[in-house]
């Protein structure tokens, strides 16, 4: 039987000391889908993403990439990092490099592309995300938060990745800029035919950019379904979260 999953997480556990972050987490991401994982702060969304990316290792459980086990060795042998793009929450642009050098960094380092060719691709990608060529030689610190996010987006798509990860893509942006970023994500992911995995707690963004939504609560996926079915999920936790109500089964320990 042929599976159609790009990424699959099976029974993933992760703790930091005595604090359990991911608890028997199971999630399937279909090829070509745009899946958003929502959940409150501290529910383990970022840790889940870091486990997939190999930035931290799960304590137990299995990660699959195209049905093959994904671990430290297989990430290198399958050249996993040359096939993905990642948009970090804080953009994570390299301060020591100019904007265009940031955009083509993965092409030069990961794909061994010549600088001149990589620079051309940088300029094209900057244009794709709506940035002017005259910012190419600036340092990231000279750009606004929204512009930095767009440069980071240009960097994430530079190598035509087959999977793109978005970590809180709209956090810290004004509503208009957040919508611009959402539109860019939809457009770029569509153009590339890539699989997108986003973590966010911005429901407006989640509804707009996803075709599937999963909700993470207490270290586990408690609901997963099509985006247009989330309002009729019949799940009290999901209802409380998407409607942003303080009352409900999700209790926040605000004194923690």
């Amino acid at each position: 039987m042929t599976k159609n999953n790009m990424i699959e997480l099976i029974n993933i556990h992760k703790s930091f000391g005595s604090k359990i972050i991911l608890n028997d987490l199971n999630l399937k991401i279909k090829k070509g889908s745009s899946t958003v994982v929502v959940g409150g702060s501290g529910t383990g969304k970022s840790v889940m993403l870091k486990c997939i990316l190999g930035l931290t290792n799960p304590d137990s459980g299995t990660l699959l990439y195209k049905d093959q086990e994904l671990n430290e060795k297989s990430r290198i042998s399958s050249k996993f990092y040359t096939k993905i793009g990642m948009l970090f929450q804080g953009s994570a642009l390299f301060d020591s490099l100019t904007v265009w050098e940031n955009v083509c960094f993965g092409l030069v380092q990961g794909h061994g592309m010549q600088i001149s060719e990589a620079k051309e691709i940088s300029m094209k990608n900057l244009k794709k995300v709506g940035l002017d060529a005259n910012i190419a030689n600036l340092s990231p610190s000279e750009l606004s938060g929204g512009m930095q996010k767009r440069v980071a987006l240009a960097r994430a798509i530079a190598a035509n990745p087959e999977i793109i990860f978005f970590d809180e893509p709209t956090t810290g942006l004004d509503p208009i800029m957040a919508d611009v970023i959402n539109n860019l994500i939809i457009e770029l992911v569509g153009d590339l035919g890539a699989t997108a995995i986003t973590i966010t707690h911005d429901m407006a963004s989640a509804r707009k950019i996803s075709d599937t939504i999963a909700m993470l609560y207490d270290g586990s996926i408690i609901w997963q379904g099509e985006t247009n079915s989330i309002d009729s999920s019949d799940n009290d936790y999901v209802d409380q979260f998407i409607n942003g109500r303080a009352d409900g089964p999700i209790k926040l320990n605000i004194y923690e």
Binding site: L53, K79, Y81, F94, F105, H111
Partner: protein, 257 residues
């Protein structure tokens, strides 16, 4: 009971820190000597660590040499041995003070800067970004800094030796009444190759300590701005202590002749 628990905690802390730094060293070396090599990154670090440290190293060496000449003059004049000033300044600078002063200055300037830069990259997820862009941070960030410091500190110490001796010469001839020719002659007569070499070998080891402590503490920093500050402090303090300890060990084990 409290004392035993306290000693136990300290011992475990030292052992785990030692283990972590050995693993970090292994990762640095095992990744650094395999392709791809980042020659441009090494060159940039040589400029940052070496060339940009020249003014501070030069000034420190000059004033240290001058002060040394004044102090030795005071001591030696009690035994009518003023003629020894040039010789002792030369030996003191080349064998001990040149490498130690340069090492300590670089611990302050370079360890701190490396730790702060890498710790900031850690807290702003730039190191994670490097990994997702197919770049091994040990190859790209750590190894070039360590190699650059090992290469540049001996050169800096060689320059510091010359400037330090010049500091002694300037004070000796302009303030203590030494004749220029005899001061230079005494300096040349006393210095042997092994005096310079001992300082240069020490410098290479101090260079490694300076860069390694900066990289290790920066890379393993946690938390936000406070974590960056703590990493920087730890880098400077640990580099300074290890330099002084290594200096004593090297002098007592290898360079007492």
């Amino acid at each position: 009971m409290f004392l035993v628990s306290f000693i136990g905690k300290i011992t475990l802390g030292i052992l785990s820190e030692t283990g972590r730094s050995v693993i970090f060293l292994f990762n640095t070396l095992s990744n650094g000597f395999t392709r791809p090599f980042y020659f441009k990154a090494v060159f940039i670090q040589i400029i940052r660590i070496g060339y940009n440290s020249l003014p501070v190293i030069g000034l420190t060496a000059f004033f240290t040499g001058g002060a040394l000449a004044l102090q030795i003059y005071v001591g030696s004049s009690r035994f009518n041995a003023e003629s020894m000033v040039a010789s002792i300044v030369a030996l003191g600078i080349t064998r001990e003070l040149g490498p130690v002063i340069a090492g300590l200055m670089l611990a302050g300037r370079v360890s701190a800067s490396i730790a702060a830069e890498i710790a900031t990259m850690r807290v702003t997820e730039q190191i994670d970004a490097l990994i997702t862009l197919s770049t091994n941070p040990f190859k790209y960030l750590i190894f070039p800094r360590v190699i650059a410091a090992i290469i540049t500190l001996p050169i800096l110490v060689f320059i510091a030796d010359i400037i330090g001796i010049m500091g002694g010469y300037v004070v000796g001839t302009m303030s203590l009444g030494f004749v220029s020719e005899s001061y230079i002659q005494n300096t040349i007569n006393i210095i042997e190759n092994k005096d310079f070499i001992s300082g240069i070998v020490k410098a290479a080891i101090f260079g490694f300590i300076v860069a390694f402590m900066g990289c290790y503490n920066g890379y393993n920093s946690t938390g936000g701005a406070q974590g960056v500050g703590q990493a920087t402090t730890r880098a400077v303090v640990s580099a300074s202590i290890f330099i002084l300890a290594a200096n004593y060990l090297l002098t007592s084990l290898v360079f007492t002749q």
